[in-house]
């Protein structure tokens, strides 16, 4: 019994403290399952589903004309089914900042689209909380805590098989929430465990850097190069000759692969005679991304290297691929989305157990934990909705538009947090208010979308464009669920009904 008791303490506190952070990570990751669909929704130029007719040379031409700085590297990705447009990114030499631009697929010349944070906002929130390397370490720590909570949770659960299907919403608060916490934790256990483990494993080289630092005498880039079997050429500090056509290199690569798809195309130090072009292969039919990159001399077009990744790196990529769900199409992403929502429900259930247990004792910290709950569990979904509102309402020509969208998100979240703190003594009123606001924001958003762009729901449904329509449909469904819950909460006379699991997590 000693082990179980100590594990119970570990599970309670090791689970409680990171749980708000974990909610942010899991919720953002859940939304990020459909980040590319969201990106399309957030860019009105993509609403009619036209595929781009540009080529890689057009994108490079735009870069040469519009960016005069010496570049460390630039990279681009052609149109795909989910992202039917060219994307271009570059890093100016000597700076660590990365610039991105996307090209309007309707235009015959390379014309940038209006700036937006896009669905990548949630992806980035998921892996580093928009806080760079520090955020990445914080997320990693939270992921390790999640692994600890999962394992200790299994140890302290006495009746894991007997209670497998048990959910008693009509029981008293603590019992009902414990059932919910257990149900989503135990039934979804394989998913939570695999995703927490693979999530931590993705940045393993950053979390455990010592071995590489020591073996490679601090030259980490050499370590990565050897592990990935990639090609590197030092700068010669001589001016580059006339670059060879990128489109020709892409065609040559496809011939080399026997007709595979092309993914990222990147050029390293393009202004130097040592410039090389990397062409990566894209294959969504396997869990691990293929490591078959071809490296060419940027001036002569000569094939310099064919990537030969080590077995360890391939195993790592398999784990990373399992986490990122870029395989298996919409079906896999949908399943991950549903399981991610189950993860959110598990976290909310766990916190409610903690609260219900202490409610009987009347702890002084309770209002603050409730305020934190309202600020995070209500705040993040509401702020996400506000972000989409901002995306639709900030004018196209607005300078630093993406930054403004980010501020809308942050500002909305701060406001909800403030609201939660002010209403910390009236948990039910707060929850009801948040649900009503969520319903309003989610239900009106498809209308705003229809009024501000040509890509309204009827048009996208009429074209059979489910990828675009699904965002509006999801918003409507989430809004209706919120409204129904607020309604129930309102008319609830008996406590049993109030204690139902709140589907706030289904907003997005």
């Amino acid at each position: 019994m000693k082990l179980r008791q100590s594990m119970a303490g570990l599970h309670t506190w090791g689970g409680l403290l990171p749980s708000w952070l974990l909610f942010v990570i899991i919720f953002a990751g859940t939304v990020a399952c459909f980040d590319k669909e969201l990106s399309r929704w957030m860019r009105p130029a993509l609403h009619d589903g036209v595929a781009s007719s540009l080529g890689a040379d057009d994108a490079r031409g735009w870069l040469q004309q519009n960016v005069s700085d010496e570049l460390h590297a630039f990279w681009m990705h052609g149109p795909t089914e989910r992202e039917p447009y060219w994307r271009l990114g570059w890093e100016v030499d000597g700076t660590e900042t990365i610039h991105n631009v996307t090209f309007d697929p309707r235009s015959r010349q390379a014309t940038p689209m209006a700036e937006t944070v896009g669905g990548e906002f949630f992806f980035k929130l998921h892996y580093n909380l928009h806080a760079g390397d520090v955020g990445m370490y914080i997320v990693g720590l939270a992921g390790m805590f999640m692994l600890v909570a999962l394992v200790s949770g299994v140890i302290i659960h006495r009746r894991i098989f007997k209670d497998f299907f048990t959910l008693r919403p009509r029981a008293n608060g603590q019992r009902a929430w414990l059932d919910a916490h257990n149900l989503f934790g135990v039934v979804g256990f394989p998913f939570h465990l695999v995703l927490a483990y693979t999530g931590v494993a993705i940045f393993v080289a950053s979390y455990m850097p010592a071995a590489a630092q020591v073996s490679y005498a601090g030259n980490v880039m050499q370590y990565f190069g050897e592990v990935m079997g990639s090609y590197h050429r030092d700068e010669l500090h001589q001016p580059a000759g006339k670059p060879v056509s990128l489109d020709a290199l892409i065609a040559e690569s496809q011939r080399q692969w026997g007709g595979g798809e092309v993914g990222w195309v990147s050029v390293h130090h393009p202004d130097d005679a040592s410039a090389v072009v990397d062409i990566r292969r894209r294959d969504r039919s396997r869990i691990a991304s293929p490591q078959d990159t071809l490296t060419y001399d940027a001036t002569s077009g000569e094939l310099l290297n064919r990537q030969d990744a080590s077995t360890g790196y391939r195993a790592y990529l398999w784990l990373a691929g399992l986490h990122m769900a870029q395989f298996g199409g919409t079906l896999v992403r949908l399943l991950y989305l549903l399981m991610g929502l189950a993860g959110c429900a598990m976290l909310i259930g766990g916190l409610q157990v903690w609260l219900a247990k202490r409610e009987q004792r009347g702890d002084r910290s309770l209002p603050w934990v409730r305020a934190l709950n309202g600020a995070v569990f209500g705040g993040l979904p509401l702020a996400s909705l506000a972000l989409l509102w901002g995306n639709r309402l900030i004018p196209t020509g607005f300078a630093e538009r993406a930054v403004a969208e980010g501020w809308v998100f942050a500002g909305a979240w701060l406001l909800v947090a403030l609201w939660s703190v002010l209403r910390r003594q009236q948990g039910r009123r707060l929850l009801r208010g948040q649900l009503l606001l969520g319903a309003l924001l989610a239900l009106v958003l498809p209308l705003v979308n229809g009024l501000t762009t040509g890509g309204h729901l009827l048009a996208s449904l009429g074209r059979g464009d489910w990828a675009l329509a699904s965002v509006d449909l999801f918003l409507i469904a989430a809004g209706l669920v919120c409204a129904a819950c607020a309604w129930r909460l309102d008319g609830a006379g008996t406590p049993a009904v109030i204690r139902r699991r709140s589907p706030r997590v289904q907003e997005a």
Binding site: K162, F164, F165, L167, P169, L183, V187, G328, V332
Partner: protein, 107 residues
């Protein structure tokens, strides 16, 4: 394939459920007899196995296994939610899922 695999996962979960005293009384009248728990569990394992086989034949080993695992987990969540709020729908949903699977197979 998807619907058949999900129907089989759901059937497996349902059989596991029927093998537990607490849930059997929620789902069936007291005088209905069911096979022993061991037999139900073995049948459930067979259902999960066929569902896995279906997923693997249609999506390949790697991706099929991932999809199968997600389907089984979701079937479990769905069954538990139904048991809590709409216990009467648990059994009728099974033929519905089977019919849907058959229809999508024909189509």
């Amino acid at each position: 394939m998807l619907l058949s695999a999900f129907a089989l996962s759901y059937l497996g979960m349902m059989l596991l459920c029927l093998g537990m005293n607490r849930h059997r009384s929620e789902l069936l009248r007291a005088d209905r007899r069911v096979p022993a728990a061991l037999i139900l569990r073995s049948l459930a394992a067979v259902c999960f196995g066929i569902a896995l086989w279906l997923c693997i034949t249609s999506q390949g080993g790697e991706i099929g296994a991932v999809i199968w695992l997600c389907l089984v987990m979701l079937a479990g969540v769905l069954l538990a939610l139904l048991l809590a709020w709409r216990a009467r729908w648990v059994l009728p949903l099974m033929p519905l899922l089977a019919a849907g699977a058959a229809l999508s197979g024909l189509w």
